[in-house]
Subunit: 342 residues, 2 copies
DNA sequence: TCGCACTATGCAAGCGCTTACATTGCGATT
DNA sequence: AATCGCAATGTAAGCGCTTGCATAGTGCGA
């Protein structure tokens, strides 16, 4: 019936021709359907379907000055912590008609900077970033390009930028309270690197906050290391070498805690009878660790979903939302027990 | 010194004006630097820097008919299996000057289809997909839009599309050989859902391949379920209810295996003395499970990096590379032991 | 000295879409 | 019946870049 198939990808003009209207009407029909009459719309839609038309992205971006694309830069996808939040973020973004442009920084500030510039150059309408710590020049750059930024994974109402996240400091303070409540007074912390990272800093600060309220605490032994199981194990050994009297090790994330637990076992220490260990994140495996890990449940999913809504709103309306705080929950499980009688 | 800053984002024309050349020369200078003379180039680069120029993405995409963007659709980021490969993929992509557009399908065929169309509409120059199972109409669609596709996570040279991955079937057969070598003859498998998923199908097929070489095996008890720890635990209980004589449970991934191990412990079974359990993926936690999990190490990183190179090449040169097979490695650890004397 | 090959640069035509503005047609208002 | 307002649609001007082709400049062999 039909002639030979069109040799090229159909354009708006092809649709317009087939429907017997102008390209403007087709464009409107696609972007604001209620601005064209029902029968015209039907005719256009038929043409669209028949031709298999799909708008050219570049042309649309050029003319409309937006891409319906949101960029996100996370430290890493390697461990599931960020991946879970990202999954929720991406899914929600799709529901809002947005697409995710993704990059990772490997926790490196210089790389993150490059990635931010790249994503903006790639036309990201808005950006999701983790944490506030960043060169002010970068924020200037983003402002100049009028790219809205939403910060996640933290809650800090004193920052000028909106964020959606949780209060790392308070969550860790709460965890530390629980540890202290078990009678522990000789604590140590295995933390991620704190330079360029407000989240890790806040977590350590939270530990200190809680300790400050109890008079007879020994000084906190803090070891900084890269996040990971192996590094957690090594850090644990280091801690016991320096302060063997430690009865509880508060870890900056679950991976570190898992490594610490393994090392404890290796060294013949029972958890929690001889030493208590806590984590942060509540990864899926926390509950099947032996003993199950006491940790902080982070609202990954809510954070991701909220971030998607907020960013979409920011991009579409140009408004700046209020910073949102999401609650964490302490999951008390087997790895935290009473302090041993010394 | 300078006048008031330009009120808007600078364009090619601004750069050209400042450098005293035409926009064509600036464009060439940016895209093929060796086609303009050194001093002209320096002048242009100075102008670029001074103005803080960065090319407009939409305009470039429209004129050049490419976006330097690669789309990837993975089943989920929720578990670290895909996330790790993706991390390597993204990093390598950046090294090739490409950017990652990401979507996830939640293992749902219909969603995946939508996402594929969306990413193409968003201007992805090429696509990374997981597994071959897909509606042929989709492949037609991609061909019509001349979007090259690379399939990953599988190795199947009989498929018309290039892929980079590993042989799920052979890897699982190899694992099963190891299990059989320990004297096990009553096996069960906890598999992910096999409909629309060639990877899970291949893994089960691998188990059967190996069993076929041994005459006295009991029939294989297969339970299909969603990937996860909880679901793995439930599936394990189901298996023991139906075939309590089972001495080894071969799981389709590590999460399932971890769940199975937990359930075994709950039911008072010792691993591996009473029952052996194996996984697939070699997630980071496999080694700290108790007992450490015998599993298949999948070359996530290599796969991601290779995929990035291959796709970039496909997009840039329009060629179709050969399918690449990457080796898996069986990690024999504590969760696999000799079959108990019955 | 002339012509030729070749390089560096400019000119200008799009790429396919959105949108401000203009036009048309029709019912309601006076 | 003339006028006005409004809804539906058309007209056409870009959006900022790439690239085929044209043009000018340069060095070299004959």
């Amino acid at each position: 019936m039909d002639g030979p198939p069109p040799p090229r990808v159909p354009t708006l003009a092809d649709v317009a021709a087939r429907a017997g209207v102008s390209t403007a009407t087709v464009s409107r029909c696609l972007n604001a359907p209620d601005r064209v009459q029902k029968d015209t719309r039907d005719r256009i839609l038929e043409a669209v379907k028949h031709l298999g038309y799909s708008p050219n992205f570049g042309a649309r971006a050029l003319a409309a000055k937006r891409t319906d694309t949101i960029g996100a830069i996370i430290p890493t996808m390697d461990n599931s912590i960020f991946a879970r939040g990202l999954q929720a973020f991406q899914t929600a973004l799709v529901d809002h008609g947005m697409t995710l442009l993704l990059a990772s920084s490997s926790y490196r500030r210089d790389l993150e900077e490059t990635q931010i510039r790249t994503l903006v150059a790639r036309g990201a309408d808005g950006l999701l970033l983790i944490g506030h710590d960043r060169d002010p020049a970068l924020y200037d750059f983003l402002a100049r390009h009028t790219v809205p930024v939403l910060v996640s994974w933290v809650f800090d109402p004193t920052q000028p930028r909106p964020s959606v996240g949780f209060d790392n400091r308070q969550a860790m303070a709460e965890m530390t309270h629980r540890v202290l409540a078990q009678g522990h007074r000789r604590l140590a912390t295995i933390s991620g690197y704190t330079s360029d990272n407000d989240r890790t800093r806040d977590r350590v600060a939270g530990v200190r906050d809680a300790m400050a309220e109890v008079p007879d605490c020994a000084p906190l032994n803090v070891v900084e290391t890269r996040y990971g199981i192996e590094t957690g194990a090594r850090a644990f050994a280091q801690i016991l070498a320096k302060t063997p009297e430690t009865t509880a090790v508060i870890c900056g994330n679950d991976l570190l805690a898992l490594g610490a637990m393994r090392q404890a076992r290796t060294m013949g220490l029972r958890v929690p009878q001889d030493i208590s260990i806590t984590g942060f994140d509540d990864m899926e495996i926390a509950v099947i660790a032996d003993p199950p890990l006491t940790t902080v449940r982070v609202p990954h999913g809510d954070m991701g979903r909220q971030a998607a809504s907020m960013l979409t709103e920011m991009v579409r309306s140009g408004t700046t939302p209020d910073t949102v705080a999401l609650p964490c929950e302490i999951m008390e499980r087997g790895s935290l027990g009473p302090a041993p009688r010394s």
